[in-house]
Amino acid sequence: MRKNNCEVIRRELDELMLDEAASAPVSEHLNDCADCREFHQTQTKLRQMVGSLGTVAAPADFEFRLRARLANDSNGALPFGFAYWPFTRRGLALVSVLILFAIGAVVMWNSMNQPAVTNVAERNPAPAPPRETPQQVQTPVAPRDTQEFQAALPESSPQKIRNERPIEAGQRVKRQLSSVDFSNTRAEVIRATDPAAVFPIDASLQPMRVSLDDGRGNARTISVPTISFGSQRTFASGNTQKGSW
């Protein structure tokens, strides 16, 4: 009973402020109980020691530094929300990754859906001379004349055609070409008098292959990649302009 009473008294003493007087019952108990009196003295001394720590003053330039800090914060507060820049940066990084992923997916999709490409060189090592194929004859722009010759070999040009050695049957061409075989289509016949002849090409979706023959068994094959700009202009003379072939 006395122990319980001491606990209550000590709790009450503990809740008092240092300069606050204890109630009459507590004071009476302190007079009677030496343990509680000692506890009270120790506790008071301890609280006095803690209270003696006092207040530590802020530095003299506290307000100056605070103003500078607030000014920096207000300067940094861009309309976009500069305070959230770390989050914005993460968001931009995420968006960049997503865009790269999307581009990669599109590239993969296109590569997987491309039409099957035939290796012309392997299938037809030697280009056959151009044959007349009525179904695929293109209507030339320029009117035809009696004097005709094979394309890209005008009369006025004495240049020798390189790679004159004909490719024998069964011989592999070193440079393999990936294109659709148009060797069985008729070659265009262009007038020699025209310095520049324009002829339409309807092979816009597939690579075009042009065979040139000088009539002496020397042949040259030119493979043109996919054309997407409608028509081409060829020049008979050697002074080809920039950007033309």
Partner: protein
């Protein structure tokens, strides 16, 4: 017409003026003025609380430079959140709550960083409480000021070893002299919890400071 008297003659003027003056200089009024862009009002708030807040955070963290930094951060937050301030609490409660949260956050950061405790080197092998780095000097000291300084340092170190949940209420009560009700509001807990924690904190301190008592 002779019965008309001025307010001064009625004797109300001093009371009204005093009330108006008190109203314009209260913390709430200063924060209201800060909200409208009055920099002087905010400067007045800073001058009222800078020492208290700096001291409180210093007692919590035992690091003066860090305490100054956190005290400034406290005022920055008050300034930024001036629009959202509600008058349901006293301003002192509000600013002490911000300071307490910052101090506790700093203490937790330190704990995560696992700073090497100097007192840790003197931990007893049986896992008991660590011994003080500077044990009390039993030799007689000539200078009374040195004794006081040594005692204050010992108290500060002992407070620094308290768990944060005991440290904050003890400082608010025994160093700052705040009421239980206010401490409960600052720490957002009940008054009974505050009393219990303060009692436990004093018990810890009594054990640690036995040599000085």
């Amino acid at each position: 017409m002779d019965t008309l008297t001025t307010i001064d003659e009625m004797g109300f003027a001093p009371t009204l003026q005093q009330e108006m003056l008190e109203d314009t200089t209260s913390d709430h009024a200063l924060l209201e003025a800060t909200r409208t862009g009055d920099q002087d009002a905010f400067a007045e708030l800073v001058s009222r609380y800078r020492n208290q807040i700096t001291s409180y955070i210093y007692r919590m963290t035992n690091d003066y430079d860090g305490a100054v930094d956190l005290a400034q951060e406290t005022f920055v937050r008050v300034y930024r959140a001036a629009d959202r301030y509600q008058r349901s609490y006293a301003f002192s409660t509000y600013i002490y709550r911000i300071a307490t949260n910052l101090a506790i956050s700093e203490l937790r950061k330190r704990k995560r960083r696992k700073l090497v405790s100097l007192t840790g080197f003197f931990q007893q092998s049986d896992g008991g409480e660590p011994q003080e780095l500077n044990p009390p000097d039993t030799r007689p000291l000539q200078d009374l000021e040195l004794v006081d300084t040594e005692r204050r340092n010992a108290v500060q170190r002992a407070i620094g070893t308290l768990p944060e949940k005991y440290r904050a209420p003890l400082i608010l009560r025994d160093v700052d002299g705040r009421s239980y009700d206010e401490i409960a509001k600052i720490l957002e807990t009940s008054e009974g919890t505050v009393k219990s924690r303060i009692s436990r904190a004093r018990g810890f301190l009594r054990e640690k400071m036995r040599a000085y008592l």
